[in-house]
Amino acid sequence: MPLSATTIFIIYSKKERTMKKLKIGDLEKIREKVARTRVLREGKARARITVHMGTCGIAAGARDILSAVMEEIEKRKVKDVIVTTSGCAGLCSREPMVTVELVDKPPVKYVDLTPEKIKKIFSEHILKGNIVTEYALAVGSETTH
């Protein structure tokens, strides 16, 4: 099936022999809206959250942890938090894990996570800068990048 230059989503039905392209006008509207509200993305972000997505992490529930992080960002309309993923950090038994790095602060690894714990880490550590020590593995000086 050829993908034309303007094709974004396609639903193709061989039975009906029709190809229906979903409207992309909505996407353009969103683009304009985001452009107006965007402020800090290009500048320095306040925090980076790295979700460990190795086989061990995924099997332990890392995808739900990532969804929970995304939900917090959306709910709180935070524009300057970067979410990324990395591989296994070698501590498979403590997955799901995330590493939280605030600007100019040492990274903190959180272990044995649940979506509930993410809510607390988000409101306490990311937004207020207070490390949630009860969920943290250690506070170190290494970075994930």
Binding site: I11, L22, E28, D64, S67, E74, T85
Partner: protein, 183 residues
Amino acid sequence: MQDLSLHILDIVENSIDAGATKIEIMIDEDIEHNQLKIKIKDNGKGMDKETLKKVLDPFYTTKTVRRVGLGLSLFAQTVKEADGKIEIRSKLKKGTAVSANLKYNHIDRKPMGNIIETIMALLATKAQDIDFIYIHKKNKNEFVLNTKEIKKKLNSIMINEPEVLNFLRTRIKKGLKEIGVAV
């Protein structure tokens, strides 16, 4: 792994680690022929023949932080349980393709799970640098999502902006529903 969508996320993570800039995820639910096909194809650094022989061995890994490599071995096990076949093709500097063909109605076939969350996890974290093509077929219908085209439309706006992701999630859900995939 609980379901196939998590295996897919795991295999795609291999592609990301291999430095791929383009990753194609294809799922084909061919109920008529009682087949469920899954294919993940990347343009990453690929593997030589020697490495390719070892990838399904749980005690082979490229990592130094631990001594086991379970991703592909676990997937191979899942495929085998559903009376299926797995094939891995790879060419150094060209890329790798992992194809699995499972028996759709096999009693031990793991469920698909939440494929939308797998795709969203990739879009939210990696789609800015990597082009993803997600093709989902069900019987004679198919749904295609191509992030390269989406990014072109978005111009300088990031694909991982919450508003954009929200829009994409809704659209994927709608698209899958329309081709008859239960979401």
